[in-house]
Amino acid sequence: MNMRIPILKLYDTLIVSIQWELDDRTALQFQEDLMEKLHETEASGVLIDLTAIDFIDSFIAKVIGDVIQMSSLMGAKVVITGIQPAVAITLIELGIRLEGVLTALDLENGLDKLHKELED
């Protein structure tokens, strides 16, 4: 089964809400889709919501890190929202610090932060 993660466009922001645990293929598919969509819509911000994820492995973490880097290469700011405590601990233990990435508690906060960042 190949589940694709929906990528929604809201004004100049792409919103992605990941609702289930990603397997490696879905993650790579998502990476490709997002880049495609960024190119297509010329969005200036990306918001990835991880509220529903309470487990993450090193590969998925790497993909997310990659997506962030790729997006900034394409000139878009990325905000990650709703990282669960357990996920945060795993990331830190894996040594993935996601430096320079904007994070926010929830979608609302994330959009605020993104807009502020884009205004600057």
């Binding site: 990650i80 669960q84 601990i89 926010a104 508690l105």
Partner: protein, 274 residues
Amino acid sequence: MNNQIIKNLQKHKEEVMYAWIEEMKNEKGEKFFQYMPEHLVEKTSREFTALMLSNIEEGEDVSDEQSMEFATKIVRFGWSISFINTAIDRFSKVVFKHLEREGVVNGENYSRFFELHLNWIEPLRRSIIQSYSLEWERTFNLQKIALQELSASLIPVFEKISVMPLVGTIDTERAKLIMENLLEGVVEQRAEVVLLDITGVPVVDTMVAHHLIQAADAVRLVGSKCLLVGIRPEIAQTIVTLGIDLTDFLTTSTLQKGMEKALRLTNREIKEVE
């Protein structure tokens, strides 16, 4: 077999009890029998003797159930374990002397008393020690839990601002607990800024600093900001001397300054009202 002994003991309950009280009064270092009011001593002693003898009434061997019941009752007296040990020793001595005097036990059937002793007194002693150690273990665990609960609580101070005061030494286990409580608290309280107050942490070495940096990183990941406040002069010196890099951190010397900074970060400030 032992019926004779048991019957004799039943008959001379009082006698044995008073002899035992006398013995206990002569025991050095035990204040209970010397300073407690007479009637209280007698009441407790009667209970103790009754408990000791109640087990022998019912059969030759003391069942586990009986001895546990006995032990829980004894523990409720609130005596120290060494005192109870002495009490049991004295009791068996008194019983032996009494039986010897009565002529129930003599040189020929001495082994009979020994058997009685093995099946009666020793199981009771064992069960008492067991229930004492159980009691201690339980208390120890309860205290540990209480300490854990007290040791890392995140307090919401203003909307979007929470404080976690840390007091005492931070070891790896505690650091883990701090991290978990911190993150759960941040998500639950929707705190945008958290202040980690280390005024009460006596020593900040590389290990503690490492844990703090990890905690702050994790806080950043869940979408909040972590300020390290309460850096005392000697802590600042150690941090620099040890070459610990805290440049990614916002740090202030006092909680007050940290709070001002936190308010500024959330676009607020404290104003005086005229």
